[in-house]
Symmetry: C2
Subunit: 432 residues, 2 copies
C-alpha cells in the first residue's frame, strides 16, 4: 500500500505490549509525583502561534509543527496554531491564563507527547513523551530539593537505580569565569562552548573559546580545570569570588537537603549546561547503562516571565522517559495473556457469554473464540496463542448436561463443572 | 495578557481535579475493555494527509486540522499531515501497516483525543476524547455481542446505570424500505432523512422524503410506522421481505446473545442511523439524564476496506465519554488533599525532607511548606487549604529534642514524637 500505509515519518504506532509498558512507566512516575504533592496538568496539543513565537530561539522555531488556518482561510497558506513543542511554554501560558485559580506555589507535573520536526533518526522521534515536574512561585531551597528527590524516586520507579546527580550552579559557573577574568558579556557563549566538552573534546572547545575572544592561555587553563572535575580545586577558586561563593552556597544547600541520596549526588564542576535560562542550582543525572543524561533540571527564576507569564521564581526537572524506555526495550517482554479462553462449539454462545460476563465482573480477562473454525483443536491453539491459563469447552454433551469442561492449559487437566459452579471453580483454579 | 494568554478556541486546560476525574474515567473504561480481551492501541496525533483525504466526506474534510509542510516547504503554504479526526481511519491504516504482526481477529480499544475544527460552542470542543472499541476480522455474532456487553459494562464503570440499548439493523431498514417500494438507489438518502426524526419532527421529515422523490402517501405511512416504534408491527412487515427477514435475524441473534442485559436492550424500529457504512446490526444507547446517545455502534463489514485497509469484516462501538463527563461534572468534587503537611520553621529542613521521603516511600502524599512565611499560623492555614489530615511541626524546641510535633488537623490534637518514631506514628494516625 506504499508509504501512505505507514505512520508519518518520525512517529510510531504503539501496539499492545509496548503501549502497556509505556503506560505503566507513566503511571509509576505520576504516582511518585503525586506523593510529592504535585498536581497533574494537561494542556491542549496545540497553542496559538503567537504564544510560541519567539520563545524557543531560531533553531527550534524551524522544528515547530504549524497548523494551517481553516475554512476560507486555508487557501492563504498561513498558520495560526502550533503543536506543543515542550511543556514549559504551555506552563507559563497556563499561569497567565488561570493565575488566581491556581494554588501557589503551583506544583505541577506534565507527562505527555510533544512534537518536533527534527530529522528522524535512530532513537529520535518527532512525537515523543516529555515528563516534567515544576514548582512555580517559591524561592525556597526546599523546592529545589523536593524536585531532586521526586526525580530520584521517579527514576527508581522506572527501574533506574544506579544513578548519580551532578550538581553545579549558574552563579558558580559565572563566578568561575570572573575568576578567570572572562568578560561578562562573553559568559553565555563561553558556557555554551564548555557544555560541548563531552561531544567535541577539550581541544576543539579551546579553539572555540579562542574564537569567542578568550586568550589561548585562559582558554586552556579554564578547560583543563573544568575537565579535571576536581570539586576541591574549583571550590578554592570559587571562595575567592562573591558570585562564585553564592553559587557554591546554593549547591551546598541542595546537597545538604538531599543528604539521603548519599553517594548519589555531588558537586560536579564539569557539569555545565548551556541553556542560559537557569539562574540557580542546576543538575543532570547520569546512570550506568544509559547514554547521556536520564534527567536534568534546575532553578530558572526568570523563565516564566521570559515565556510570557508573570514574574515568578521557578524550579523544575525533566525525566528522560523515552531514553529510559528505549534502553529497557529489549528486556521487558509483553506478557498479558488471557485468564480464560472460551471455545465456541455447538453451543449457541448465550450461556458462554453469560459465564464470560460473570468472570469479567470478578476482574478476569476473558476472551471468546471469534474465528470460523468449529474444531476444538484449532480453538485450543488460539487459546494457547493468547496465553490463556484456562480454557472452557461446551460441546453437545456439556450442553445437554448443563455443564462446561474446564481445562487447565498448563497441565492439560480437565474437569466437568455444572454451569452454576463454573465461575467459582475457574477462579479457584486461577488462584492456585 | 489578552487572547494570547488563553488556550486556543475550542480547547481546554485540564487542571488537577478535572484531570484526575477524566483519568479515572479513562482508566475505568480501559479496565473493562481489557477484561474483554481487547488490547490498547495508540496511533500518532497526526496522519499523512493522503491517508485521511477522501475518507470523511466533504463536510468533515473542512474540519480537519492540517499541518503545514516544514522547513523550506513552509513558504508554499501546503499541508502534508492532518491531526487525527477519529480513531477509525487510523485503525484501518494500522491494519494495513502491521497486518501480519497483529493477532487476528484484532480486538483493540483506543481512548484519546481527536481534533475537529467545528465551530466551538457550549459543550462542543475542537479537542475531545473519543473512546472506541472494535473487533476487526470476525464475522461471528459473538463479536457483536461482546462489543455490546463491553460497552454496557463500560457505561456502568462510568456510573451510567439506567441505560437502554436500542437495536436495529441496516438490512432490516433496507428491507423495510423495500416493503414500502422505495427505490433502492434512494434508500441511503431516505435513511439519512429518517435519522433526523428526533431533530426535525415527523412533518419536516415527510417533506424531506417527498423532496427526495418518495410519494407523499408512502412518506407519510413510512414515517407514521417508524414513529410508532412498534416492534410487532414492523416485525410483521419485515417477515414478508427476504432482506428484512435477514436483518431481523441479526437483531434477534444479538438480543439472544446479550440476554443478560435483560430489560436494557430491545429491538427499536425507530432507531435509524444515517451513516451508510453500517452493514449489520446497529445500536445506540440512551440513558436517563443524558442528552442524545451515550454510546453507539454496529457492524460495518465494508468500512476498513473503504478507508484504505484490507477487506475484513468489523464491528465496533464508541462510548460518549465527553458527553457523560459533561453531565457528571457538577456532581463530583475534587478531593485530593495531602495526607501530611510539613511546616518549616527554624529547622533547616534536612531532617523534615528525610521524614517526608520516608512517608512518601510508604505511599503517602506529603507536601512541604515552600512559602516565605515563618509563622506557624500561616503555615497551618496553608496545610488546611491543602486538606492536610496531619501537620508536622519542628520548631526550636522539637529540634533540640530530636523530635517533631504531630498535629491531627481534624481534631487539633497534638503530640510530640521522637524523629525515629515519627513516620510510624503518622501512619498509625492516618489509618484510624
Amino acid at each position: 500500500m506504499g508509504q501512505a500505509a505507514q505512520a508519518p515519518s518520525g512517529t510510531r504506532d504503539f501496539l499492545a505490549d509496548d503501549l502497556r509498558r509505556r503506560k505503566a512507566a507513566v503511571a509509576a512516575v505520576s504516582e511518585i509525583f503525586e506523593r510529592y504533592g504535585f498536581d497533574p496538568l494537561e494542556t491542549p496539543a496545540f497553542e496559538r502561534l503567537e504564544v510560541v513565537t519567539g520563545k524557543y530561539g531560531e533553531e527550534a522555531a524551524n522544528l515547530l509543527f504549524k497548523i494551517l488556518r481553516r475554512g476560507a482561510h486555508e487557501a492563504g497558506g498561513q498558520a495560526d496554531l502550533a503543536l506543543r513543542y515542550d511543556h514549559t511554554v504551555p506552563l507559563a501560558r497556563v499561569i497567565g491564563t488561570h493565575g488566581s485559580k491556581l494554588p501557589f506555589p503551583f506544583k505541577r507535573y506534565a507527562i505527555g507527547p510533544v512534537w518536533r520536526a527534527d530529522r528522524p533518526q535512530e532513537g529520535r522521534f518527532r512525537e515523543f513523551v516529555q515528563c516534567d515536574v515544576d514548582t512555580v512561585g517559591s524561592h525556597s531551597p526546599l523546592a529545589d530539593a523536593e524536585i531532586v528527590q521526586a526525580v530520584a524516586d521517579g527514576l527508581e520507579a522506572l527501574g533506574v537505580i544506579d544513578f548519580r546527580f551532578l550538581v553545579n550552579s549558574r552563579e558558580a559557573l559565572r563566578g568561575l569565569l570572573e575568576v578567570y577574568n572572562v568578560d561578562t558579556f562573553l559568559s553565555d557563549g563561553v558556557l555554551a562552548s564548555l557544555d560541548k566538552l563531552d561531544k567535541l573534546g577539550a581541544e576543539a572547545v579551546v579553539t572555540e573559546l579562542t574564537e569567542r575572544g578568550i586568550s589561548a592561555t585562559t582558554a586552556e587553563r579554564l578547560v583543563t580545570d573544568i575537565v579535571a572535575d576536581s570539586p576541591d580545586l574549583i571550590r578554592a577558586k570559587l571562595e575567592t569570588n562573591p558570585r562564585g561563593k553564592q553559587g557554591l552556597a546554593d549547591v551546598d544547600r541542595l546537597l545538604e537537603l538531599t543528604g539521603d541520596l548519599e553517594g548519589r549526588i555531588a558537586f560536579s564542576p564539569r557539569m555545565v549546561r548551556g541553556l542560559d535560562y537557569y539562574t540557580g542550582a542546576i543538575w543532570e543525572v547520569e546512570a550506568a547503562g544509559y547514554p547521556g543524561a536520564v534527567a536534568a533540571g534546575g532553578r530558572y527564576d526568570r523563565l516564566v516571565a521570559a515565556l510570557g507569564g508573570p514574574e515568578v521564581p521557578a524550579v523544575g526537572g525533566s525525566v528522560g522517559i523515552e531514553r529510559i524506555l528505549a534502553v529497557q526495550e529489549p528486556e521487558s517482554g509483553g506478557d498479558h495473556g488471557l485468564d480464560v479462553a472460551l471455545t465456541v462449539l455447538e453451543d449457541s454462545g448465550g450461556e458462554l457469554l453469560r459465564l464470560a460476563r460473570e468472570l469479567r465482573r470478578h476482574g478476569l480477562r476473558v476472551g471468546t473464540y471469534l474465528g470460523s473454525s468449529t474444531k476444538l483443536g484449532k480453538q485450543l491453539t488460539w487459546a494457547n496463542a493468547h496465553k490463556a491459563r484456562v480454557a472452557v469447552i461446551r460441546g453437545t454433551e456439556e450442553q445437554s448436561a448443563g455443564a462446561v469442561t474446564v481445562r487447565d492449559m498448563t497441565s492439560g487437566e480437565q474437569q466437568r463443572v455444572a454451569d452454576a459452579d463454573a465461575a467459582q471453580r475457574i477462579e479457584e483454579l486461577l488462584r492456585d
